[in-house]
Symmetry: C2
Subunit: 309 residues, 2 copies
DNA sequence: CACAATGATCAGCTAGCCTGATGTTCGTGG
DNA sequence: CCACGAACATCAGGCTAGCTGATCATTGTG
C-alpha cells in the first residue's frame, strides 16, 4: 500500500533537519535536541544517505550551514509532518482524558427519554467536543448483537445477560398500572381485579415479555386491545379510555396529570435496567465517563422513582 | 518548538500499526512488512509503551486482533501521516527529476525579451509544474548581490565575474549602430564618422559603461541627447530622428523594419552574456535544467545573431 | 482431546546510535 | 602571515534497540 523507497525515513530525521535549519548550526541544534554535535552530524548524514543527496551546504569554517534546494523542499514537508505529529500527540492526550472521542450508545426508548438527556447533557457540558451517537433499539438481542460486532460501544439492557459482556446494574424499574384518573381508588391495585379489563401493551420485546409472564404467574391472562412501542401512544390510548396499561415506570411521563399510576399487588418482577459493554474490548475514556455519569444519574433517578411507586 | 512526550514515536511504529490493523493478525502483517511475527509483536509493544495504553485487543487464540478505541484514533492519524510520507517521497522524487521545484532567475531586459521566452517555453512544455520566477535586474552588481544572498538561484550577467560564482558563457553580443533607414549607406559604419552625431543611450549601468569606454578607446566622445533603459523607447527615439544609438544586438528588435542596423568599424568589445550561479551552494535539478536549456537556446540564437552582425 | 493458529516471551546477536576525542577547514584579529 | 577559534567530519568504543528463531501459553475446531 505504501511506497518502497524512503522506508528508513523517521521522524527523528525530520526533527534533526528542522532543528539544524532553524538553528543554523549543527552544534546549536544538538544543544536544543539534547544531543551532542556528533550525533546530529550523524543523523543528518543518515538522512542524506536516505534521500540520496545533501540537504545542507556546509561552507566549512565558522559559517552557518544552509539548506540545499532539496533540503528546503524536504524541510517544507518535514515541518508539516512534525506539526501533525504534534497535533497527534495533543489529540491523543485529549482522547485519553475523554475530552474527545466517538461513542455510540444503544438504548430503549424509555431510557432515551428518561435517562439519556441528563447523561448527554452532563457529558456535553464537560466535554463539548465528544461525538455521541445514540441508537434507539427496542430489542435486547439486537442490542447485544450490535454490542458484539462493535456497532455499539455501550448499550442499555434489561436483564442480567450472559454473553461476553459486563453489566452494571443501574436501577430497578417496577411495573405500574396506568389508568384514567379516578378509574381505581388511590393506592395499589390488585392484579386479580384486572380480569377481563381491556389492556394496552407493547409489542413482544424483552420488557413486554417480562411483563406478560409476570402477570400470568399470578394468574392473569391479559387481553390486549392495542399494542404500540411508542410510550406516548400507549399513554394517549389510556387517556382515551381504550383500556389500562401496565408499563415499566420509566416508560411513563411522570408529569402527565391526565393519567394515574398505581402500584400492583402482588408486585411482579420488574425489569432491571443495566448498562452493558464487551469485556474483551478495551473501553475508551469516553465510554468510561459515560458509564460513570450514567451510574450517577441513575442513582438520583432511582430515588425519585422510589418516591412514586 | 515541538512536544515533549511522544518523542520516540517513529514512522515505523505507525506502519506496523497500519499493517496489523489491516491484516488482522500480527503474523500476516509481519509477512507484508518483511519482518517476523516476533518483530511486529515487539514493535506494537513498543508503540503501546510510547502511547501508554494498548492499541490492540488480543482475544487470544486464533481470533483476529482488534483495535482499541485509542488504537483506532491513533490509526486515523497514522494513516494520514503515512500517506503524507508517501506523498513526500513522490514529491522528492519528482523534485530530483526536475519536474517540480521553484527557481528564481535574474535577467536584463534584453535577455528577458530575447532569450528567456524560448527557455521558459521549453521548460514549461517539459515540466508544466515548475514554479519559475524571473526578476528583471538591470545592474550586474545588484544581480550578483542577490545571487549571493540567495534571492536569485541563477542570474544572467554581462562580463566574466569573479566572486564565488561560476559562470557559463552563453553568447557574444556585439554593439551595433541603430539608425533611420537610409541614414547611412549599407554595411559597416566607421565610428569616426559619428563625431558630433547626437546619440541616444542607456543609463550608466554595466553594458552602457562598456559601450562608452569602447567608443572612447577609439577616440569618440559621444554626445547623449537622451537616455533610457527601455530598449523600445530608445528605438522609438531613433525612429523619430532624435539621434542614433549604439546598443547590444540583443537589445534590438530584429523584426523592426523601421530602423536599420550597422556593424561598427572598428569593432568595439561587445558584451558577453553569461549565466552565473553560486558555486558554494548545491544547484537544484530545476536550476541545472535551466542552465542546460539556456545554453542550448543561446547556441542557436548565437548563430542567428552572427548572420545579422 | 489432540491439533492448529496466534500472540507473547526469551535468548542471542547484530547494527544502529550516541558519546567523547580528534581531525580538518576556514574566517578573523593581531 | 600566523595563531586562534568556531564549526563540521570522522573515528573508536560502548550501549541498547531491534530483529531472528525457538518456545510457551491460549483458545477455537474437528
Amino acid at each position: 500500500m505504501f511506497v518502497a523507497w524512503l522506508r528508513e525515513l523517521e521522524i527523528k530525521h525530520l526533527a534533526a533537519l528542522e532543528a539544524v535549519a532553524s538553528a543554523g548550526t549543527f552544534a546549536r541544534a544538538a544543544e536544543r535536541l539534547g544531543y551532542t554535535q556528533s550525533a546530529v552530524s550523524q543523523q543528518i548524514a543518515s538522512l542524506e544517505r536516505i534521500v540520496g543527496e545533501r540537504v545542507f551546504d556546509r561552507p566549512g569554517g565558522p559559517r552557518p550551514v544552509t539548506l540545499t534546494p532539496l533540503g528546503e523542499r524536504l524541510l517544507a514537508h518535514g515541518r508539516d509532518l512534525l506539526h501533525r505529529v504534534d497535533a497527534l500527540a495533543r489529540d491523543l492526550e485529549r482522547f485519553r482524558l475523554g475530552e474527545v472521542g466517538r461513542l455510540t450508545v444503544g438504548a430503549y426508548q424509555s431510557v432515551c427519554s428518561a435517562v439519556l438527556p441528563a447523561v448527554v447533557g452532563r457529558l456535553y457540558r464537560d466535554h463539548p467536543e465528544l461525538e455521541l451517537r445514540v441508537a434507539e433499539r427496542d430489542d435486547d438481542d439486537v442490542m447485544l448483537a450490535e454490542l458484539a460486532d462493535g456497532s455499539l460501544d455501550v448499550g442499555f439492557v434489561v436483564g442480567p445477560v450472559g454473553a461476553p459482556v459486563a453489566t452494571r446494574h443501574l436501577l430497578d424499574d417496577p411495573f405500574v398500572l396506568l389508568s384514567r384518573p379516578g378509574q381505581f381508588p388511590p393506592g395499589p391495585v390488585r392484579i386479580a381485579d384486572l380480569h377481563g379489563q381491556p389492556m394496552i401493551g407493547q409489542h413482544g420485546y424483552s420488557c413486554q415479555l417480562l411483563n406478560e409472564s409476570g402477570l400470568r404467574s399470578v394468574g392473569l391472562e391479559p387481553t390486549y386491545v392495542f399494542r404500540s412501542n411508542d410510550n406516548g401512544t400507549v399513554a394517549a390510548m389510556v387517556r382515551a379510555g381504550m383500556g389500562v396499561a401496565i408499563l415499566p415506570l420509566l416508560c411513563v411521563d411522570l408529569e402527565d396529570r391526565r393519567i394515574e399510576l398505581h402500584p400492583l399487588e402482588p408486585v411482579i418482577p420488574g425489569r432491571t435496567v443495566a448498562l452493558a459493554w464487551r469485556t474483551d474490548r478495551t473501553l475508551g475514556a469516553a465510554a468510561q465517563q459515560f458509564i460513570a455519569v450514567t451510574v450517577e444519574v441513575c442513582g438520583s433517578l432511582a430515588e425519585r422513582l422510589a418516591a412514586v411507586a
